[in-house]
């Protein structure tokens, strides 16, 4: 299930859509936003410097409005708003966000086709 762009996004979106968010992942995001008491807040997804091989993912609640340069996505299922900064967008384009439950525990899984290698901890990546 694809994310869809909102019409008043600060930056016009060019097809193809930059992220794939599964309905299962979108539902968990929605539930967590509600449980946090901030159903109208958004989630920021991106990449920041740091971590043992160079970059690591940023995945956090965001209470403010998107910044002028952000790209705003709204998931088709459950209408979760996701912000992407332009620098991260370059590095996470076409990432598939899913939610996994199993013996490894519960959590979001990012399948990022731009990644060339990840370190053992899996939390930092290089491109």
């Amino acid at each position: 299930m694809n994310a869809s762009a909102e019409n008043n996004a600060p930056e016009a979106l060019a097809a193809p859509l930059p992220l794939v968010v599964t309905a299962r992942a979108a539902k968990v995001m929605r539930d967590q936003l509600v449980r946090r008491g901030t159903p109208d807040a958004a989630i920021r997804f991106g990449i920041r410097g740091g971590g043992c091989t160079g970059y690591s993912y940023m995945f956090q609640f965001e209470d403010g409005p998107p910044r002028a340069s952000d790209t705003l996505l709204v998931t088709e299922a459950f209408a979760v708003r996701i912000y992407l900064d332009p620098k991260s967008l370059r590095l996470v384009r076409n990432t598939r966000i899913d939610f996994e439950t199993g013996i490894r525990g519960h959590g979001f899984r990012f399948d990022n086709p731009n990644v060339s290698s990840a370190c053992g901890c899996g939390e930092s990546v290089s491109f």
């Binding site: 410097g49 043992c52 956090q60 340069s69 399948d111 290698s117 370190c119 053992g120 901890c121 899996g122």
Partner: protein, 656 residues
Amino acid sequence: MADSLDTSALFQIEEPEAPRARRRAAGRAIGIDLGTTHSLVAVAPSGAAPRVLADAGGNVLVPSVVSYVGADTRVGVAARAEQVDHPQQVISSVKRFMGRSAQDIGFSHPYRIVSADGVIRFDVGGRRLTPIEVSAEILAVLRTRAEVELGGAVDGAVITVPAYFDDAQRQATKDAGRIAGLDVYRLLAEPTAAALAYGLDRGDTGLFAVYDLGGGTFDISVLRLREGVFQVLATGGDSALGGDDFDRALAAWLIERAGVTAPDHGQTAEALHVARAAKETLSSEDVVAVDLPRAGLAGFELTRAQLEAIVTPIARRTISPCRQALKDAGIAPEELDGVVLVGGSTRTPLVRRLVEQVFRREPLVDLDPDQVVAFGAAIQADILSGSPREGVTLLDVVPLSLGLETMGGIVEKIIARNSTIPIAARQVFTNYSEQQTAMTIHVVQGERELAADCKSLARFELRGIPRLPPSMARVEVVFQLDADALLTVTARELMTGAKQTVEVKPTYGLSAAEVDALVTESYDRAEEDFAARSSAEARVELGRVALAVRAALDDAGDDVSVLPAEEREQVVGALADADATLAAPSASGKATDAVRLRLETVSEPFARRRMERSLLSGMQGKRVEEVERAIDDEGDLDARRGGHGPELTGVGHDEG
């Protein structure tokens, strides 16, 4: 570790890094001077001049005294009135107990103190209260006073602490604020607050001394202003010296004058009260009439000269801490750009003359010395609440990321921009080759990917790294940014403990627009930065592989059983390509990766033979599967240890 997608971690949605739970309300912040003997609160809403807030009776100072006599708690004048009759249930000078454990209390006090798990509590008869809770009572009174004045809730506060307060004492003060229902934006050093009140931050640079003589304590601080931020260079003082000593000395002298040799409690109390009033009058008059009815002294004419003769020995005790502080700061009095007076006792003309004599300049006296610290706190609180104020650069977030240059000129960000300060971050780096016995720590500031595009802040070397195979040495780098925005970078080799530290001052003179421009530039250049970073990373990786292959070649020598001649030719050829690529600075990341892949492919059979040989010699009698499993386990272990971190630029390669 290449098949990242199958081993990728599971992530949780995190709270934002700088937890701004809510937006601050500009203009609704207060500044609090939480003093040993008295406390006060000031506001400076939305850029206005600061003013202190008084109670209904016009009193500005709240005695820092809390009474737990009876069911209710009283703070201030009412509490002080009960002190004589209930010395153990009325707590004064609680500041001396903040953040301290029982062992730290080396001074005398009348309280019953219970200590458990390192926490001290005052036993006030039925209730046991921590110093934090007692301080919170004082803060709550000040908060209420401000709420009346502001006509509504207080958004947050800046509370001042002595410059010498350690982490535990600061944390205790913060906790007290929280218990009092205050959002403590920040603690501020008292001398810094006084300097802010005088607007001394408006210059670019400067050296200042802050002379703070209160009722019971004396503090001297030397501050340096650089790019809008104050740094405390040195502190000194005497925690048992203050204006109260003047009063006691004068009272004793007056009692002697009255011919009383063994004064009773009433006579002493009366003399103290009269002495304080006389001292205050003599700050502006030359002579004052003194009456001590209980001691039988009437119409005595006390002159300023007499007072000064009595208190000079006490006042002179402040001189040597001042000289020591200057010495500690490494500056001469002539280098100072200003001296600020704080504390009611600095109204005494004698004290002013002494200060002038020691620092060889006229002190700044325009602001009320009792209120100047609260003024500075109020100004700082107003800034932090988000009010626009002219010419202020004090920040409590990192405006631009701080990081290190690693191999290939790539920037490794350690502290991300917009992190709130104070903050500390640590990262472990590894060596690039066995020959690397030193690392260059190049500290940079900026958002770009390559160090060359960022601002260089400092560069130093860590020597004494043991010779270890690539990626085995562990160098821990800690970035510590304190509340005064001073960055301390420490690099430590974890095996030998070799350590090197540098202190840097990141630029804080940037305007919001300049910071925005730098960040936008990093977005605009994301594409080319990305290419440059990929290329640099690929080069580092290629260099690492080439180094390993070359070492293996040397090791194998002419042994054709490990490396047949035609294979050697291929490996040497691929190695030559690698050298050529490494020498060509324009090679793209993809091209460099291709060269590395070829080198890895042609040398793979050679590497496998070498490994088998060494394993067979070491693990004879074991089945191949077991050996393979052992190798896998080894790899996993390495991964769990955090894998290999980025390498720092190598320097000081030993030749030989």
